[in-house]
Amino acid sequence: MLKIRLIPVVLMRNGMVVQSKGFSRYQALGNASTIVGRLSNWSADELIYLDISREAKYDLRREDLNYPNRAEFEEIMVDIAKNCFMPLTVGGGIRTLDQVRQRLKAGADKVSVNSQAFRDPGFISAAAREFGSQCVVVSIDVRGVEGSGGWEVFIDGGKTATKKTAVEWAREVESAGAGEILLNSIDRDGMRRGYDIELIRAVTDAVRIPVIALGGVGEWTHFQEAIESGGARAVAAANIFQYTENSVHLAKTFLHKQGIDVRSPLIKTVTGREGTR
């Protein structure tokens, strides 16, 4: 049967890898190629690469401002693909089928779509028809609604409320043809208190497609909770993988020792031109 996946997420903002907190505060961590090289560890099962820099610039209707940045993003992607022998998901500001095609061509295996999918759910279907549902990850950002015990979907990088609940929207994206859901809690983003397990459970109970949990990991046991209590088929995190050396491998080894059905973290040496990264 399929293994539980461990997925490092790389957040890019204006050409730099950043840490994010609450979708509002960002701290630059450094150069993308170096950091991605470190995360493209044998223990990672996939890599998600999100460009979160462009939203404000699109709002200004000054796409020209975005050019240098975009060029850099695609250049980095091609670079990553050369040394990334695992599935690569790319997202951030994708609005057209052409943009999907470009990213797949540059080396992505899947794309992650968010605001555009919400504004036009037909976009999910069109992308699934053209490229296959396995290529289409719908990213859902939510905040808890006080007093209700529910969660509201936010788009535009957490700026725009939609009045739709996480569970409703998850069901809709599944029926529109999404292959997977990347579920992110804005409240937990960068907090290190652990995932919102109730949120994850509510969504995994509502859909059959795999749910990737994101947002809030501060220690390895949080991964285990999302899998065992939340029902997540994949666990993702961004910030925590930046704190320690060899963190992806340590996390994988932890999960393996807990008896979770992950791909073995044991590493053999593949000789080759591995110094080229």
């Binding site: 049967m1 050369k82 040394n83 022998f85 695992m86 080396g107 296959g132 080759g272 031109r273 080229t276």
Partner: protein, 206 residues
Amino acid sequence: MHRVALVDYGSGNYASVRNAFRHLGVTVADVERPEQLEAESHIVLPGVGAFGNVMDKLSKSGFTEAIRREVLHREKFFLGICVGMQVLATTGMEFGSHPGLGIIPGKVTPIEPDDGKLSIPHMGWNQVSVQGDCALFTGMDLEPTFYFVHSFHFLPDNPEDRLGICDYGGPVTACVGRNRVFGVQFHPEKSQEAGLQLLRNFANIC
């Protein structure tokens, strides 16, 4: 390690397969014309998308005949990846019935997991139990794990041609082979260490 000839007929995973071989230090010959295959000893056919589409592209570019000739009559080493493996079959049943290369007799049919909760496509990392002794899996764990993305699989007429299976609500064909011809359903180019090992094993076969 031998040089490998990578058939370039516009397949989506061409660049990834190429990157993986080059990372291993294997020389890659980019083959855009069928006659280029004549000089090569190891042929790799990547593939993503629908069976019929891939066969169409291969036939229009003249590769169908060239691959059959090199593999069946000149006994070249061959590795098909994903749909590049499926087209080895006699027939593919995706979006209607389509003739394949007919190199390993069999049919490509939908995966039908016996558990209704399992979604299609079969996508993710799965363990392959290798049947018998296959040179592709030299130096690996008994049940190595590879990355899969597919909705159809290859059912060879002769069960001995099925060299590897994985479990997804029932057995799913992961690897086929006969003589010098191999096909893998998973994506070695996306399967980290085990995948690279498999590609290197192929380049080392002689």
